[in-house]
């Protein structure tokens, strides 16, 4: 089976590859994620107890405090940040956090990411040219 490239909008530039981690909940990086371990610590979150480290994190959008941008930076410095992120629609908190942390971030995929991507699907994010490539 050949690979499939899906166009998207680039928010934070870069290229990365990794296995998908799907969340249907919005994420407030301040409070929801432990900056030391990258584990989701919010009990009501659908990723509760799961590490986002080195995953391609798929979630609808960010929420909560703007300090969340800095938490992404801390995750990155601690080596436990996602390798890339895909949003349905990016908002400033996650966008700014991704840029300052060198994490590629895209949104508005031409095909609904929840339809084409499953947990552990291997994908490549190229937000220099603006596409997501399904490698599995």
């Amino acid at each position: 089976m050949g690979t499939k490239k899906i166009k998207c909008r680039s928010i934070s530039r870069g290229v990365a590859q990794g296995r998908v981690l799907i969340s249907h909940d919005a994420i407030s990086f301040l409070g929801n994620v432990d900056p030391k371990t990258g584990v989701v610590v919010e009990q009501d979150h659908d990723l509760y107890g799961i590490s986002i480290k080195n995953r391609v994190l798929v979630f609808p959008h960010g929420k909560g405090s703007t300090v969340g941008s800095y938490v992404l930076y801390q995750l990155s410095k601690n080596g436990v940040a996602p390798s890339a992120m895909i949003n349905i629609e990016s908002e400033p908190i996650v966008a700014v956090g991704a840029i300052i942390s060198d994490i590629p971030l895209v949104d508005r995929m031409e095909t609904d990411p929840y339809e084409v991507l499953k947990n552990d699907t291997l994908v490549k994010i190229d937000s220099q040219t603006g596409y997501v490539e399904v490698l599995d």
Binding site: R9, I11, S12, R13, P35, T66, V67, S69, Y70, V71, Y73, Q74, K77, S90, E91, P92, I93, A95, V96, I99, I100
Partner: protein, 394 residues
């Protein structure tokens, strides 16, 4: 988004990594909000200063940046008075981190003044139609509404990016079409002083993030407009409002009443004054705080007059910018002789020292919104005179 050749070069990293990241943030925000280009700004005001708010995460990021800001840039209030922190009850550990944050900003060429009212300060006064990138919600409201200059409500990193690049993305309140009123608020009673803070506290909850056009019985003054806007930015998310025949956009554009109109009655204003927070019926006010937003020279003079020759029985903070305090030592002297503290660089909302109290009394609708949630201290509301009387009561 259209970028100039120079901007493209910066985006491609030819001017260093810090500027590359900075312009990348501006472009990303511009793309998200549909901006056509970057526009030059006159000044920047940067949020994300109090160690209580940004913690080690923010400190790390700011410390790692290099370069110098291109326009006059100033800071939001810090978590403590940078000189009198010990008197405020701040721990040395917190003070150490707070000083590190200020030094990190200074290294980037940001002035180490910390205030939510930069518009009173030299180098930060603005005129009608000026574009800036300011962060603090009450300052944003004042800039847009009372001065008629233009800014979005910037986050900490985006304001700092704008300062480093000297530009911001052209969207939101920078554009005429987003500055028109989308809801009207008609007030049926006369208002003065803290009534405007109470009005903002009520109106913000209904208005949300719309642009309200007020129809008032009186013509409010600058400090009253400041209090109105600050309260609405806290209880709602109002970044721009108009007062019919008063504020600069409203005078020029002569806006008509919108289809949606809410009416605010005297009884609603009174309720804000009369409200006793839950479980505090037996609790005495042990702290009275003024200066949210930071006191103007007029407000400082007013408080000094009311406290002249008297002794306060409770802890009293009068929060203002260091520059205003230094410009008017005669007012500061009178206030401090009464036993009240003139607190600079910080305020009751962002300082962890507020958490040492059981019940706070304020004349600010913004503080009334934030003190209970951010400091976990219940708050009561009163006019400047009522607050002073409470401070003098044994």
């Amino acid at each position: 988004m259209h970028l100039t050749k120079e901007e493209e070069q910066t985006l491609n990293g030819e001017d260093g990594e810090t500027l590359q990241k900075a312009i990348e943030i501006l472009v990303a925000l511009g793309d998200i909000y549909g901006a056509d280009r970057l526009i030059p700004i006159k000044s920047a005001q940067i949020a994300g200063v109090s160690y209580k708010t940004i913690g080690d995460a923010g400190l790390e990021w700011i410390s790692d940046l290099e370069g110098k800001v291109k326009v006059p840039s100033i800071l939001n209030p810090a978590g403590m008075d940078l000189k009198l922190w010990d008197e405020m009850g701040i721990s040395p550990q917190f003070a150490q981190k707070q000083h590190e944050i200020i030094k990190a900003y200074e290294k980037l060429g940001v002035t180490s003044k910390c205030t939510c009212t930069p518009y009173y300060l030299d180098n930060f006064t603005l005129g009608y139609g000026d574009h800036v990138a300011w962060s603090e919600s009450s300052a944003v409201s004042y800039v847009n509404s009372v001065i008629g200059a233009r800014t979005n409500r910037e986050g900490g990193p985006s304001a700092l990016s704008a300062a480093l690049v000297g530009k911001t993305a052209n969207f939101g309140y920078h554009l005429d079409e987003n500055r028109e009123p989308t809801i009207s608020v008609t007030v049926e009673c006369n208002l003065s002083g803290a009534d405007y803070a109470a009005l903002g506290y009520i109106a913000g909850k209904t208005v949300g993030s719309k642009v309200p056009l007020f129809f008032l019985q009186n013509e409010p003054e600058g400090d009253e407009l400041k209090a109105l806007g600050a309260a609405m930015a806290a209880s709602g998310a109002v970044a721009l409002y108009h007062v019919d025949s008063v504020t600069p956009d409203a005078r020029r554009m002569k806006f008509e009443k919108t289809d949606e109109n809410i009416i605010i009655e005297e009884s609603q204003i009174r309720e804000v004054y009369d409200k006793i927070p839950d479980n505090t019926a037996q609790t005495d006010v042990d702290m009275v705080a003024f200066g949210c937003p930071h006191c103007s020279a007029d407000e400082l003079a007013h408080i000094a007059r009311l406290l002249d020759g008297k002794q306060v029985e409770k802890d009293v903070w009068v929060c203002t910018s260091r520059e205003i305090a230094e410009r008017y030592p005669q007012f500061v002297d009178k206030i401090e002789k009464s036993g009240a503290l003139v607190v600079c660089d910080t305020c009751m909302v962002v300082s962890p020292a507020s958490e040492n109290y059981n019940l706070m009394m304020v004349n600010s609708g913004k503080a009334l919104s934030y003190v209970p949630s951010m400091c976990k201290v219940p708050a009561r509301f009163g006019s400047i005179e009522e607050c002073i009387n409470e401070a003098l009561r044994a």
